[in-house]
């Protein structure tokens, strides 16, 4: 049996004696007999470290990790530099608690302050929080920020990630607020439909940029319509794309959120991921979650603290706008580290290459008989092709250790290419598709 309890059986007996007790049952004397478990749980015995290692490794061996990943849809296989895996594993960063005691946690607080700064730089916004759970819950929290006594309806683009839409729907269900999904036309938010849906009750409109199908939306035009109706404009953005794409701030957004996973976090079968949230100064006090601020100490030294805590649940309790108590601190540290290692040039390069390689693959696939782009218009690093024999294609790709695009609709595949994929890998994928279609 494995155990992390350092005290020996003899020490435990002695400690019980100092308490005037002689058994574990006495220690738990407040637990009524009808619920005190006298025997063991119906679970296997514990294991030594070597046995556990074998057991869990055996589970991992049942997974397939593809050599080439051409699927995105909210989880991206970007290249993670070696040092970005190494540093977050340092025991202090890994095992520390939330930095409530500022004097003992300056390193952690500073790393978050640096992260907040970088998110502001990426998005063009004035203020960022210390992160929330993921991009979907960030979208829901942003929608909540925008509501006031008069305006409570949330509009969301139907071209956003289905999990984002459903998460916002869930949070709206909780507070009893209305969510309306704006229809999609030709793969993008229908601006006429949006205009028809905006009214004096609209609190905010959320658009994903680029959207779920990889297409660039006309964010500025959408944002203008939203502001004309007196509502707030929320953009969900892809952080790598912000290396080269117009900032949400320049597009007129009031709040920018998104999934930070591409910034150095592994795919990890869905998590942990990272929700970033940034906004204009006027909305600063509505931002949920932790925020790190700069100040000085009693000797005038620069110091960092968790600040603006009066927004949060431990102070406002039922009047807090969100119950969020934590952030994804280690993930935020990782993201800040990734952005530091990549720098502005590296990030732009990752974005440019992702886009270039996606266009290259799209070109190669659409040159094949029966394959066509589902939508026109500019796209970033994801795109949908319509093609026949979808399952056969995915199967053939799988045999070559390639995870192909995500099946969408009746005959579509949503492909994604990141900077990590080489030309040779793309040529191989295209060749396989060609072969299947030629049969």
């Amino acid at each position: 049996m494995g155990s992390y309890v350092p005290s020996t059986p003899a020490q435990r007996q002695e400690m019980l004696r100092t308490l005037g007790l002689s058994s574990w049952r006495e220690l738990y004397r407040d637990v009524p007999p009808d619920m005190y478990l006298d025997g063991l749980l119906h679970l296997p015995h514990g294991m030594s470290e070597l046995e556990v290692s074998r057991a869990v490794s055996a589970m991992a061996a049942k997974n397939r990790v593809y050599a080439t990943v051409l699927r995105g849809a909210g989880a991206y296989d970007d290249y993670i530099p070696a040092i970005v895996k190494y540093i977050p594993a340092k025991e202090e960063f890994l095992t520390a608690y939330t930095p409530y005691q500022a004097e003992m946690s300056q390193g952690l607080l500073q790393s978050i302050f640096e992260y907040q700064t970088m998110i502001c730089e990426l998005t063009g916004m004035d203020v960022s929080n210390a992160s929330v759970y993921d991009g979907a819950s960030a979208a829901a929290e942003a929608a909540a920020m925008c509501r006031d006594r008069k305006r409570r309806v949330t509009l969301i683009s139907g071209a956003a990630h289905p999990d984002v839409i459903n998460t916002v729907r869930t949070y709206c269900y909780g507070t009893g607020d209305e969510l309306r999904v704006v229809p999609v036309k030709n793969g993008r938010t229908d601006p006429e439909a949006l205009a028809a849906m905006l009214d004096g009750e609209t609190a905010s409109f959320y658009v994903q940029q680029p959207n779920f199908c990889g297409l660039w939306e006309d964010a500025e035009a959408l944002g203008r319509a939203v502001h004309e109706a007196g509502a707030l404009f929320v953009m969900g953005c892809h952080p790598i794309s912000l290396g080269i794409a117009k900032t949400p701030a320049d597009c007129g957004a009031d709040i920018a959120v998104g999934e930070g996973q591409p910034l150095g976090l592994p795919l990890g079968d869905g998590g942990p991921y990272l929700g970033f949230m940034a906004c204009r100064e006027k909305l600063m006090r509505k931002l949920p979650g932790r925020i790190v601020g700069e100040t000085t100490d009693d000797a005038g030294r620069r110091a960092y603290v968790l600040s603006l805590q009066a927004r949060e649940q431990h102070i406002r309790r039922e009047k807090a706008s969100s119950n969020i108590c934590s952030n994804e601190a280690l993930c935020a540290l990782t993201a800040g580290l990734y952005l530091t290692v990549m720098g502005p040039e590296g990030l732009a390069e990752a974005a440019r290459q992702s886009m270039a390689k996606a266009h290259y693959l799209a070109g190669a696939l659409c040159a094949l008989p029966g394959v066509e782009m589902a939508y026109d218009g500019p796209y970033f690093h994801e795109f949908v092709t319509r093609l026949p024999r979808r399952e056969e294609i995915l199967s053939a790709l799988e045999q070559a250790d390639i995870l192909g695009g995500l099946p969408v609709g009746e005959d579509g595949l949503l492909w994604c290419v990141t900077e990590k994929v080489s030309r040779a890998q793309l040529d191989q994928a295209a060749a396989i598709v060609k072969e299947v279609l030629a049969k």
Partner: protein
């Protein structure tokens, strides 16, 4: 602790100066002392309705939030936006820094005189 007698007070520690048409409202010295360093004031908007006995905003210190309870009913005609940039003014001079002005105030019969309010504060201990 100061209790200027040129105005009335509520049991929730707000002061009111009124000429009948408009009530000017702030917090008392007792209140600012109990709150500690004020870091932010959440103000209502002009045109908002306020009700006697109900919260019209709140005051944040580093570790706590306290509701501002309206001592009268009426419509907010002005808010002191200076407090947004300088919330510490409520600590420095609570009687010179008003928070909101309310038109057509009702409910002023419930207010305490400076002397009664001072006695009330003493009994709160």
């Amino acid at each position: 602790m100061l209790y200027p007698d040129d105005r009335m007070y509520s049991k929730s520690h707000e002061w009111v100066k009124t000429d009948g048409a408009t009530a000017v409202i702030g917090i008392s010295d007792y209140a600012q002392d109990a709150l500690g360093d004020v870091v932010f004031v959440n103000l209502p908007g002009e045109g908002d309705e306020v009700s006697m006995g109900e919260a019209f905003g709140d005051v944040e210190s580093v570790k706590a939030v306290s509701d501002l309870i309206s001592p009268v009913s009426g419509t907010v005609s002005a808010v002191n936006e200076e407090l947004l940039d300088a919330p510490e003014n409520l600590n420095k001079d609570p009687y010179d820094n008003w928070i909101i002005k309310v038109d057509d105030p009702t409910g002023t019969e419930e207010l305490l005189s400076a002397a009664d309010y001072e006695a009330f504060c003493a009994s709160e201990g």
